[in-house]
């Protein structure tokens, strides 16, 4: 297996060469800098690729890679002016097709984005998907993502951004209190089925992350924004740790421990054969109680006692909504 690892990198490099040649042919003459910007790669990568292309070709009649069997470039332009001009072309005429998996990745990606207002024109998206299928060298892999209806809230966010005004909405924080928030929208992010708005919050006077499904009564305001996406460097992680975070020890079935991966457990220890103990950093116990009570794999908060009590209080109050003798066994669900 070890010898396969470098080959993966070479595959990427090959895909790059096969993609770069038709682009250069099409452009006729293009600066190294522009090609690098177009492919979003470093200038050095373009240079190396062009140098390789310029000495590559086919064995030809003589099987000796004679001059006419090779690509050639205008070397003076390349070396002195940083401009790429292919002066001899070999074998390649056009861009390569997508692989079955590449087409599947793009199609599933489009399906995943079906809630975006840009994707509201379902006929146009269907055309685009069929182009990807036809542009693949074999039938795309059977990977798909559920179609979602257009998200009206995202349309509102886009309108606010276009108009340069704040978005306002009711937001129920995890502590349960609802407040009217006014926000400069900066970025919309998602993780699987969960969508988030990141923006500058005028109430908190800081950048905050909001779950779209917790936003209620949204409206485009008439207040101008203070910040745009280019003014603010957003932290990479959706939720940043804060100094008053508390470290909580949770025990859970080992098979289910990956559900806690987002909470960046800093160290993991076994607890018996099938259980694992994790240390999570949490900001407050309200969200911890929600998290713990919704996870599979029988999670139990071990310490500190205050965190245990918070979960205990949450689930005790919940169970009081039900009668004493309601327990009975059931079966079913997905296979």
């Amino acid at each position: 297996m070890a010898e396969r690892a470098p080959a993966l990198q070479a595959q990427d490099k090959l895909a790059f060469l096969l993609s770069l040649v038709p682009y250069l042919m099409d452009r006729g003459s293009v600066s190294i800098a522009e090609a690098a910007a177009h492919f979003k790669v470093p200038v050095a990568q373009i240079k190396r690729a062009v140098e390789l292309i310029a000495v590559s070709g086919i064995p030809g009649e003589t099987t000796q890679y004679q001059h006419g069997d090779l690509f050639d470039i205008a070397w003076d332009d390349f070396e002195q002016n940083g401009v790429i001009v292919l002066t001899n072309m070999v074998a390649i005429d056009d861009s390569p097709r997508f692989s079955a998996r590449e087409a599947a990745a793009m199609i599933a990606g489009l399906q995943y984005l079906s809630s975006l207002p840009e994707n509201a024109d379902r006929a146009a998206i269907a055309t685009l998907m069929s182009k990807l299928s036809r542009g693949a060298s074999s039938a795309p892999s059977q990977v798909a993502v559920e179609n979602a209806p257009t998200n009206d809230l995202l349309a509102l966010v886009e309108r606010a951004v276009e108009a340069g005004v704040q978005l306002e909405f009711d937001y129920a924080g995890v502590r349960g209190q609802v407040e009217r928030r006014r926000v400069d929208p900066l970025r919309v992010e998602s993780l699987d089925a969960d969508w988030y708005l990141r923006g500058y919050d005028h109430l908190r006077e800081a950048v905050r992350t909001f779950r779209l499904d917790r936003i209620a009564a949204p409206a485009v305001s008439d207040q101008p924004i203070s910040f745009t996406a280019s003014d603010v460097v957003l932290p990479e992680k959706l939720f940043e740790g804060s100094p008053d975070d508390v470290v909580v020890t949770v025990e859970i079935d080992t098979a289910a421990s990956s559900f806690l991966a987002d909470y960046a457990p800093d160290d993991i220890e076994g607890a018996g054969t099938s259980r694992t103990r994790l240390h999570l950093r949490v900001n407050q116990f309200g969200s911890l109680a929600r998290l713990i009570s919704g996870l599979p794999g029988r999670p139990v908060v071990i310490a500190p006692a205050s965190a245990r009590d918070a979960v205990s209080d949450w689930v005790s109050r919940a169970s009081h909504r039900y009668g004493e003798d309601e327990l009975f066994s059931v079966d079913g669900g997905l296979d």
Binding site: A7, L14, A15, F16, P22, Y23, I58, I92, D93, D94, S95, R97, F98, S99, R101, E102, A105, G109, Y112, L113, N119, G135, S137, S138, S141, Q142, V143, A144, V145, E146, N147, A172, R187, V188, E189, S190, L191, A193, D213, A256, S258, A271, G272, T273, R275, L291, I292, S293, G294, P296, V300, R308, Y322, L327, F328, S329, V330, D331, G332, D335
Partner: protein, 339 residues
């Protein structure tokens, strides 16, 4: 000449040269012609034993095909079964993107975002290469005013082997733990689709013994997925589209009634759940695909909701809460580790 003394040709140069040579030939090249003349092989080719070089060629063919390059093999007429006379080539029509496929700048923008979706997933390599090919066409996309950073994760370790198996129609084996069962059960199935529904990855598969159609949640697969060498056929209608349609139908058909406190987090979020309707009496009807997943979700809302019906959903929520209460009573001790 030992391989170590041969001039070193970078891997990508060898692969690139192979693609160029096979694209340029109409009639195909034999393996000997390739190994003795193509850049990167010819430096290591000898008149004697070329076993190592031949194995290299086999791996290179796989790597190239994985990129979607249709490298084909032609048998000499009347000479079937003779490996030495097989000819290799890349037919231009099957290699090149058809002329009538072009992408507008809006389409390019959408596809760029679609590729971004996978940047942390199993398909990150595929989407990165798809983007290269898209950019090869020279089109540019307008810079969107609102910054989007969408992400799908396929964190489940089962994703990759299941996709390999479904692309090659292979039988897989894994242990599957249904909630409420004491122990996992060994399963042997032919996967035909991987779908994400309500944020969770599922694998649709056919049980070759019973011909039964099954859907598995990847998060409930508790062993590594073993991909066997056994191939199997699946019916033509075993597609991802059908798998999703089946899940949609299930979601549509299954309803639970819950009471949520007014203006609570639970009410806001359940109202945004697909298909939720508020009844005249204020209770919410919510849709679901799996009773255990729904019970987990309702339990997470704690005292903000009450599961009213159907009885089995209510009972599952009660059971969950009862276990949580018992597990968090008093101080933690070794009791909590009983698993």
């Amino acid at each position: 000449m030992p391989a170590s003394r041969a001039p070193r040709v970078p891997v990508e140069e060898r692969l690139f040269s192979l693609v160029l040579a096979l694209l340029a030939t109409e009639t195909g090249l034999t393996k000997t012609e390739i190994l003795s003349t193509v850049q990167g092989y010819r430096q290591r080719w000898t008149q004697g034993d070329n076993a190592a070089l031949e194995r290299q060629f086999e791996r290179d063919k796989d790597d190239i095909r994985e990129l979607g390059v249709p490298l084909e093999t032609i048998e000499e007429p009347g000479d079937t079964g003779n490996n030495q006379n097989l000819r290799y080539r890349i037919p231009r029509g099957a290699y090149e993107l058809p002329d009538d496929i072009a992408f507008s700048s809006e389409e390019t923008a959408l596809l760029t975002l679609a590729a971004m979706v996978w940047r942390e997933g199993t398909l990150s390599g595929e989407s990165r290469r798809a983007l290269l090919k898209l950019r090869s066409l020279g089109g540019t996309a307008p810079v969107p005013e609102l910054d989007y950073a969408p992400r799908i994760r396929s964190r489940d370790a089962a994703f990759e082997p299941l996709q390999t198996a479904l692309d090659r129609r292979l039988v897989v084996r894994f242990d599957y733990l249904k909630p409420g069962d004491d122990a996992p059960r060994a399963r042997r199935v032919v996967p035909y689709a991987l779908v994400q529904f309500q944020g969770r990855w599922l694998c649709s598969a056919i049980d070759p013994e019973t011909d039964g159609w099954r859907t598995f949640l990847l998060s409930r697969i508790v062993s590594p997925v073993a991909v066997t060498a056994e191939t199997a056929t699946v019916p033509p209608d075993a597609t991802a589209e059908r798998a999703l349609a089946d899940l949609e139908a299930l979601w549509e058909a299954q309803i639970a009634v819950v009471r949520a406190d007014p203006a609570s987090d639970a009410e806001t979020r359940l109202l945004k759940r697909r298909g939720t309707v508020r009844r005249l009496d204020g209770a919410l009807t919510v849709h679901w695909s799996d009773r255990h997943l729904l019970a987990d979700e309702l339990a997470s809302f704690g005292p903000e909701v009450e599961a009213v019906s159907p009885p089995e959903i209510r009972a599952l929520v009660v059971a969950r809460l009862a276990a949580l209460v018992a597990d968090h009573r008093g101080t933690a001790d070794s009791e909590a580790s009983r698993g």
